[in-house]
Amino acid sequence: MSFLALERLEKRYPDGFHAVRGIDLAVERGEFIVLLGPSGCGKTTTLRMVAGLEEATAGTIRLDGGDVTRLRPSQRDVGMVFQFYALYPHLSVRANLLFPLENTGLAKMQREVRVDDIAAALGVTHLLERFPRQLPGGDQQRISLGRALVRQPRLWLMDEPLGTLDSDRREELREVIRAQQLQHGVTTLYVTHDQEEAMTLADRIVVMDQGVIRQAGTPSEVYESPADLFTAAFVGSPGMNRIDGLVTGGVCAPLGLPVALPDGPVVLGVRPEYLHPDDAGPLRGVVVMDEYLGAWRNLHLDCPCGRLVMRLPPGAAHRPGDAVGLRVDPAHVLCFAPGDGRRLA
């Protein structure tokens, strides 16, 4: 039996907004799960239901074998990190770290030792006597990571913890989070809208949209083999290109690829790195924008089939208006149903 199980979990607000529409998810002990999706997809609501900060409208949350759906947050033994740090401003850093331990019945000595240990692990020992408002965001979030871990909770919950930090701090803290998670082996639920964060942190990514789970899988499964068009477009930077195609007699236009699908319209998906410049290729496009990104460049093209993006090495630049021919890697073309975006092949 899995360590954390969400069964038909649902949240409907009094104003009628159906934030989470009956999701099922099984998480193993020690797993790092990232809930990924655009704002309003229900990922934060799901996390808050697991924490007990929102009441589930229907469904069950099981933690370590017990039903916790109706338990108060304080009874669930979870630690949570908030986007805006939420360190208690009137308490010193040390008092903030001690706070979750006060109700645990640990002896004072043990509490102090725990705080010193976690502060050392996170590299904030020199900040213990300071107050949160005196510290930059990165340090504040480090401390709130510690506050959520110091009790050695059964679950570590994180709600976009890196959202407000600049990219340097973000990368730094990403490493801290991963290291702490591995070291403590604590089962983690992490919410983000940043697919790169999800790809690098997760054991498994749970892609959500409009209150339902679109796909749950390892980063490479979600990236290479998306279950539908939404996941295909949301994961990857930029997302998967979509080309409207038509199957006739087992051959798919406009790429001219053989496919094992019945006749009719189909949507083809190709990642930007599987498009290659080729003057003899089946597609032609006009350069809209050449985005130089250091290690590579994204070439945005207007084609008869829509806007396509091609990932290229940082070689020579293209000018807007240039015409470019393209071909695709046949092995990496995916087919989706035009209506609901389901994956066909």
Binding site: P38, G137, D166, E171, Q195, E196, M199, S237, G239, E291
Partner: protein, 346 residues
């Protein structure tokens, strides 16, 4: 033709904090200059000085050949877009966009205003939303309206202060391209402040790297990325970050931690140096010194491999077909022509 913006020796201090020190900056007409720097580098202060919201302690700001120090923000005719889009929630999109045109002293007729608003909405693909209250827009639409409010008066200069920072990552990506295309069509010079690497490299005609209130380097994105003048610039530009290794000259090549890393090239400094290798320039085979793979991260189109090499932690960006797993031993190598060397004194 005079530059759209010329700044000389701009200095600003807040109490004990030296926010800007001797900043020189030029912006040509029809140019997009990105100011890249970490939090606290002074980017926003610089922008606010140009907009006239802060008075500099020393230095000159010239807008289109006219000395701007002493002019009020309104007289400078620049448009500023903030990170937090402040729209009037009860007004419609159209009313929000029209607001700057109704400012006293602009005296535009109702028809002229309507025409301008329609033009701005068309540029930003907001035409279908003109009658919708701002409170019922998504984050991306709100930021587009905020940009609409900036472009509608056709200012002589755009100042953008991390306009995409508060948006979802996915939205940021698409608006980044949209904004760059829009700017090209408007042909209005723009100063764009960001800490986002992708925005800095992809959007600008030029990029200026700011840290500690000083401009460390400015130039075309590719030049700054490929030829950073100092380790500090190299570290600030590019993600995943450049690997910096303190190396010693051991006759034929550079060594770090006692093991040979890369051969020497002509013009290398003697003695000691700081060696910079971009992650994408580090191959996993062909070298002599072994490295242990500590972590393999799937970045989608590529793999980011963290290695323990010559006693240092380094990262390599490799194609996703590379068969590499945690715990493997590899022999990294880099083409000396693609590495950077700074004498240890820098």
């Amino acid at each position: 033709m005079s530059a759209a913006l010329a700044i000389r020796g701009l200095t600003k201090r807040f109490g004990a904090v030296q926010a800007l020190t001797g900043v020189d900056l030029d912006l040509a007409a029809d140019e997009l200059l990105v100011l890249l720097g970490p939090t606290g580098a002074g980017k926003t202060t610089l922008l606010r000085c140009i907009a006239g919201l802060e008075a500099p302690d020393a230095g000159s700001i010239t807008l289109g050949g006219v000395d701007a120090v002493g002019l009020s923000p309104a007289q400078r005719d620049v448009a500023l877009v903030f990170q937090n889009f402040s729209l009037y929630p009860d007004w419609t999109v159209g009313e929000n966009i029209a607001f700057p045109l109704r400012a006293p002293g602009r005296a535009m007729g109702a028809d002229a205003i309507r025409e301008r608003v329609a033009w701005a909405a068309r540029m930003l693909r907001l035409t279908d939303y003109l009658d919708r209250p701002a409170s019922r827009l998504s984050g991306g639409q709100m930021q587009r309206v905020a940009i609409g409010r900036a472009i509608v008066r056709r200012p002589r200069l755009f100042l953008m202060d991390e306009p995409l920072t508060n948006l979802d990552a996915k939205l940021r990506e698409s608006l980044r391209v949209e904004l760059a295309v829009l700017r090209r069509e408007l042909k209005t010079p723009m100063l764009y402040v960001t800490h986002d690497q992708a925005e800095a490299l992809s959007m600008g005609d030029r990029v200026a790297v700011l840290d500690g209130g000083r401009i460390l380097q400015q130039g075309e994105p590719r030049a700054v990325y490929e030829r950073p003048v100092s380790p500090a610039v190299a570290r600030l530009v590019g993600l995943p970050r450049i690997n910096l290794l303190p190396a010693e000259d051991a006759g034929g090549g550079w060594t770090a931690g006692g093991v040979a890393i890369v051969p020497r090239a002509a013009g290398d400094p003697a003695g000691r140096c700081l060696l910079g290798i971009r992650p994408e320039d580090l191959r996993l085979a062909g070298g002599s010194a072994p490295a242990e793979v500590q972590l393999v991260e799937h970045l989608g189109a590529a793999l980011l491999v963290t290695l323990r090499w010559a006693g240092m932690q380094v990262q390599a960006l490799v194609g996703k077909d590379a068969a590499v797993r945690r715990g493997d031993t590899v022999h990294p190598a880099a083409d000396p022509g693609r590495t950077h060397r700074w004498s240890a004194a820098d």
